[in-house]
Amino acid sequence: MLVLLWGLSTEGPLAAVHKELLQQNVPVLAVDQHAVLDTEVRLSVGAHLEGEIRIRDRRIDLEAVSAVYVRPYDSRDVAAVARAGPDSVAWRHAIAVDHVVASWLDLTPALVVNRLQAMATNGSKPYQLEQIRNLGFGIPETLITTDPEAARGFWKRHGDVIYKSVSGNRSIVSRLQPEHTERLADVSFCPTQFQRYVPGTDNRVHVVGDEVFACEVLSGADDYRYPGQHEVEVRACSLPRTVEDRCRLVSAALELPVAGIDLRRTPEGEWYCFEVNPSPAFTYYESMTGQPIGKAIATFLAGAR
């Protein structure tokens, strides 16, 4: 058994899982993308898959890897690579290492948390929600439009509306306010996503294999991740059994054995799903609630054969 970690060693979730694996005496090797220029990968893909990663004097036989925890980062953004620039050998090396590792992650029979293809569903939020539309959660009425009139009509119809990116970029949720009226004309340049505002309490649910860790988030901010002046309180909670099961179902349907699911419970007791984070920054919630999410991920990885 060998667990491989791929990402930046200084990054919270990766460091937390690494620490837990060491505490559980699980053989683990971290491939730190900070060291991409010292990393060499050999990979052969045919009827069989075999290869190795070398980092300085360390050598990892990829066939010995039973599980991988991935927090991918674009190696071109590593300081030494960025400094070298796009025409450099370092730049091409970084692209190649990322490509070869990604190819291996696509194909390896090892447990991968999470596969890159599965993680990509979050690149289009409405696409992701379509995949889970029939799994039991409510999904807010949504309009994506380049038509300012349509946006105004949607706003008028629902009264309270939020807007947010369609992709995962600049993904901040904001409530439409009267001062936005003039800016609505700008939607004609690029499809813009509007959703009916759903009142209620935010719940963040981390699924790790069959385990479910739920917490509720109390905040007056439109997006508690960017609270501004608002206070944020995060506390562990338990979910109704049916909601827990739905979370497991969503995680399985998206092929994300580890997932961070954003839910909201309305005052009427309905449960809405807004998105499923395929690479959740669980350490924030863990630090606020004491829930052993990192330990659960480590145990899950160690259980792979």
């Binding site: 060499e40 990968v41 893909v45 190819s103 309009l143 380049t146 038509d147 349509a150 690029c190």
Partner: protein, 234 residues
């Protein structure tokens, strides 16, 4: 109406739209995504309104879509200011993925999380899938010398292309290659797929595969049209 989602310089797409002019075919470019008129209601595609070649169209009038882009490239977005081009390209890709995925009419190929048209597999994935299906392959080998960013070994051009459009199989390949191409299409779930083979002393082996079939070939264009018509009759 038939929509061909393509780059503004895609001459093959333009010619195909002209060929299908009697069916109101038109090219949907990325500039259409910067035009007022889109109204996409995820989960309710019949209510949606789209912009194709500058004209507003009810989505329910579209009877087939051929997608020739794997993502929205920044170079296609001439109406967007420079500082927003990168963001807009990602947003438009995410938007098209949702819209194309939700359409009820046939979409060649329906998008996946990685690609606006079909599986969007890396070459390594195609080779591995082919090999697992018993198709002879030339293994892909990456050596530690990454500076060149190419795998080891030479890749001569393919000798035979088998194009699959739904159940139809086009090209002059022998039955074995046709069966192999069908197996590969089945494995990746693509309706439109070009599978290429190289001839070696030991016989044919898999060369490459992708969704970019040569639509300038009349038989490919006709097969795509037939695929759309079949679905209309369902």
């Amino acid at each position: 109406m038939l929509a061909i989602v393509a780059g503004r310089r895609d001459e093959k797409a333009r010619h195909l739209a002209e060929r299908w002019a009697s069916l109101s075919a038109a090219v949907l470019t990325c500039e259409d995504l910067s035009t007022a008129g889109w109204r996409h209601f995820p989960g309710d595609p019949d209510r949606s309104e789209v912009v194709i070649d500058g004209q507003s169209v009810a989505a329910c009038e579209i009877t087939g879509v051929l997608t020739r882009l794997s993502y929205v490239p920044e170079r296609e977005l001439r109406r967007i200011v420079a500082e927003d081009v990168k963001y807009a390209a990602v947003e438009m890709t995410a938007f098209l993925r949702s819209w194309l995925f939700g359409l009820k009419c046939p979409v060649l190929n329906r998008p996946t999380a990685n690609c606006l048209s079909g599986p969007g597999w890396r070459h390594e994935q195609w080779v591995y899938a082919a090999a697992r299906l018993g198709i002879p392959v030339q293994p892909v080998t990456w050596s530690p010398d990454h500076a060149s960013f190419v795998p080891e070994g030479e890749t001569p051009p393919p000798d035979v292309t088998v194009t699959l459009v739904g159940a139809r199989c086009l090209g002059s390949a022998d039955d074995t290659l046709v069966r192999q191409a069908r197996r590969l299409a089945g494995a990746c779930g693509a309706d439109l797929l070009a599978v290429r083979f190289s001839k070696t002393e030991a016989g044919f082996r898999f060369h490459s595969a992708d969704q970019w079939a040569d639509i300038s070939l009349p038989e490919v264009a006709e097969a795509i049209l037939e695929r759309f018509r079949e679905a209309e009759g369902c």
